[in-house]
Symmetry: C2
Subunit: 249 residues, 2 copies
């Protein structure tokens, strides 16, 4: 028995999220990978994902692990899977053998997400799957300023989807940033973990700052309020991308 | 009655090409635009496209014209169509009123196409719709050199899909170029017109040069042969994009 860590990239447009759904007819990234690995290895594969990305959310560096008796050399696994009947919107980027007790979700020390906005007068046929189209003129400097306000260790209850329950709402955001590439505005957040919908609510709140409806200095007050209603709307899923996940060593 | 020239962008992945098919159940860009414009204008719209892009081929600057009694100001047409129930993989970029005798296909003086190759060891979940994945190491300098060989006025019979009949196989390629952007190799061709599949056959032939199966100096001989069998295979549709179309003035 060994434990294999796999890094995958996917275009989430066609999936009902990473994680298997109660309705097995709904395609998920986990479902595709488990079926593929089961077929190739000849034994039922159960994968443990690091992050439960939602329907329509993308990943450049999602990580999962699975325990198997499959004897494939790990350096052959990406090619074997990528040419083994995987749909083209999922790609295996890397694989490594890890200690048997490695757990992709619990061992993660940091996750980095981006949220991409397509800011132009006219939408784009090529970016609509990967970015949130916002035609209004945005105060980009204010958005960058607002993003500084989320850095640090805070109770992020105000930035958590209503109805989601976890033991603690405290998370640490190590760094935040904003980059412009032509019409694209890319928000970047690196933290030790994120509450349900937290990145999308931060993006939606920062967009309210961009539109002038909130000010950068409102962010600390919103955090302090612990009140979801004070933050902006949840930005739609297609702008979100799980970039990479960090582990010890 | 007036004549309106419209510039559109589309992700061709979900369409059976630009032009309406014999089977009306097959979605086409023309079909979508005619239905949309008919609904908005209240009269049956018939559009004349500049280029018949194939299934899976994209466009950043396809042009069509249509005659109509619709009184909408042309500067309002892009917003009216883009928010009027158009699918997100088609975007109206611009509209202009043109003389009644303007014909999007016959009046075009130049067309520019790109063909994009994704050259890396591992495929990309995000580029697979828009680029042809080629994992082999490519001789990019030789490909750029080969592309110079197609410039000029030639009989391009060797670069024409078998079975396609036109009055003349003579076309002029004004310029060719090759650009690298990380793993992307972008071939660019600007000409007064292209035979059926011509850009994709040129791309396929240039790829044979990249793989060392042909040499740049073979291109003039292939052109001179007039024999389709001498050129490389037809590169797949997803790498092709109609960039823009030029008209007098």
């Amino acid at each position: 028995m060994r434990n294999i860590k796999v890094t995958i990239e996917y275009d989430g447009t066609g999936y009902h999220g990473f994680q298997n759904q109660n309705n097995p007819a709904l395609p998920t990234v986990q479902g595709v990978m488990e079926e593929l690995l089961s077929g190739l290895s000849g034994e039922q594969a159960t994968i443990i994902g690091a992050s439960r990305t939602d329907a329509g959310v993308h990943a450049r560096g999602q990580v999962f692990n699975f325990r198997t008796n499959w004897t494939i050399p790990v350096d052959k696994l990406p090619l074997a899977t990528n040419s083994g009947g995987i749909p083209p919107d999922i790609v295996v980027r890397a694989a490594a053998e890890v200690p048997l007790d490695f757990h992709a979700q619990f061992d993660a020390t940091a996750k980095t997400y981006t949220y991409t906005i397509y800011n132009a007068r006219i939408p784009s046929a090529f970016h609509h799957r990967y970015a949130y189209f916002v035609p209004q003129r945005l105060r980009v400097e204010s958005m960058a300023e607002a993003l500084k306000g989320v850095v640090g260790t805070h109770d992020f209850a105000a930035f958590k989807a209503v109805g989601s329950t976890v033991k603690s709402n405290t998370r640490t955001i190590f760094e935040s940033g904003l980059e412009q590439q032509g019409p694209l505005i890319i928000i970047k957040l690196r933290g030790n973990g994120f509450l349900y919908n937290m990145v999308r609510i931060i993006a939606g709140t920062v967009l309210e700052v961009g539109k002038g409806k909130l000010k950068p200095e409102d962010i600390p007050e919103i955090i302090a309020s612990g009140n979801r209603i004070m933050a902006g709307p949840t930005a739609p899923p297609q702008g979100l991308c799980l970039e990479y996940i960090e582990y010890p060593d």
